[in-house]
Subunit: 204 residues, 2 copies
DNA sequence: AGTGCCGGATGACAGATGTCATACGACGAA
DNA sequence: TTCGTCGTATGACATCTGTCATCCGGCACT
């Protein structure tokens, strides 16, 4: 090994973040040179520390790990990207790969896979759970249009049609139409089920 | 120190669990002697390994960390209990304390607090984030009756009144009444908002 | 014995939600 | 150029949801 691998760790829960750092710290060839708790701090930190690999949680304040991955991929194309998440939503996998991620790990995989993934992506390999990859392919693409997604996302918290219309600068009827088509496309019976299902599939 | 502190770690996401184990492993006086990924395995493991402290995540399959804490507290009253969770829901804090927990930590607290909490509970202290404690007291008790809670919980996924009625062996009208009173008690405008709010406060 | 709350139920009503047909302009593919 | 799709909108209609008044039996507290 010519030099240690410099890793950036992005995860909002400090206990988990520092625990992962401790875990990676046990590896001789890996060094965690930077830690951030927000998605919108990833790019600057990656640049400042000249990291080799960025390890990104998806759920973060400021910006999701996937958005951060896209930023880094564009600005620093040599930095390898590992996306780490709680949920194996196939939809997440798809968008993460489109954002330029080199690896996609779920947090309930064994911890040993983490260091292994770091080494593999640096060697130019891609690391994806085969089960998840199959699920992502089987599931097919997001059937919702941009607007349908937007409206459904806004409706998740229980807002009424009137509120949604105001928030999105649409007429109430249009809001109802979008929700109605979304409900039909997802083959469910109301907006709450539609939101649940779409969220679960990573389509929101 | 007469002997090392024997710790049981219960957390379903293996990567996080093993990372926390690595973190605690860095402490000279602490030894992680058992790890489980399910709430319903906690008691047996605690008994088998004669642990001093059990570190329990709340969200786990099989049984929540709080339910597991209650079990252990009853069966092995000398075992100290640390409840660890993603969300600082004051409602969780309340029920955790009622279940006999000695410490309540949120995962976005600094990692150093974890080892510190383990030592403190063993010394007979209780460890609670003061901000959370204040919030729990300010918030007051759960205003919902048992049935209202049950119906609201069942309604979360978008089930219709008819489905809820069938599932809970009630009439449709009764379901509507419970949801209606819950909505009023929580001062919101529909079941979705009610579910969101109650969930957030740890009242479900 | 009376008061009040909880679980359970009914019926009536207003308002919100979901469906459907229909329309128009913009745009991209054939 | 024509066809299909998307975004946007309206109106009519059926159904679902939320509110309210009212009722009953059980139970706890005074």
């Amino acid at each position: 090994m010519s030099h240690t691998i410099k890793v950036l760790l992005a995860e909002d829960q400090s206990m988990v973040r520092e625990a992962l750092a401790a875990l990676l710290g046990l590896e001789d060839d890996i060094e965690v040179v930077a830690q951030v708790a927000r998605g919108d701090e990833v790019l600057a930190a990656a640049r400042a520390h000249g990291v080799d690999v960025a390890l990104l949680d998806i759920e973060m304040p400021g910006m999701t790990g996937i958005e951060a991955a896209a930023q880094v991929h564009k600005a620093l194309p040599d930095v390898k990207l590992v996306v780490l998440t709680t949920f194996g939503r196939p939809g997440y996998l798809r968008t993460a790969m489109e954002a330029g991620a080199d690896a996609f790990l779920v947090k309930d995989a064994p911890a040993a896979q983490l260091a292994e993934a770091v080494r593999k992506v640096l060697a130019g390999e891609r690391v994806i759970d085969p089960t998840l990859a199959a699920a992502a392919l089987a599931e097919g693409a997001n059937p919702l249009t941009d607007r349908e997604r937007e409206v459904l996302r806004a409706a998740e918290d229980g807002s009424t049609n009137a509120e949604l219309a105001a928030k999105l600068h649409l007429s109430q009827g249009t809001v109802r139409n979008y929700l109605s088509t979304a409900i039909q496309k997802l083959a469910v019976r109301n907006r709450a089920e539609a939101a649940r299902l779409a969220r679960e599939k990573g389509w929101l």
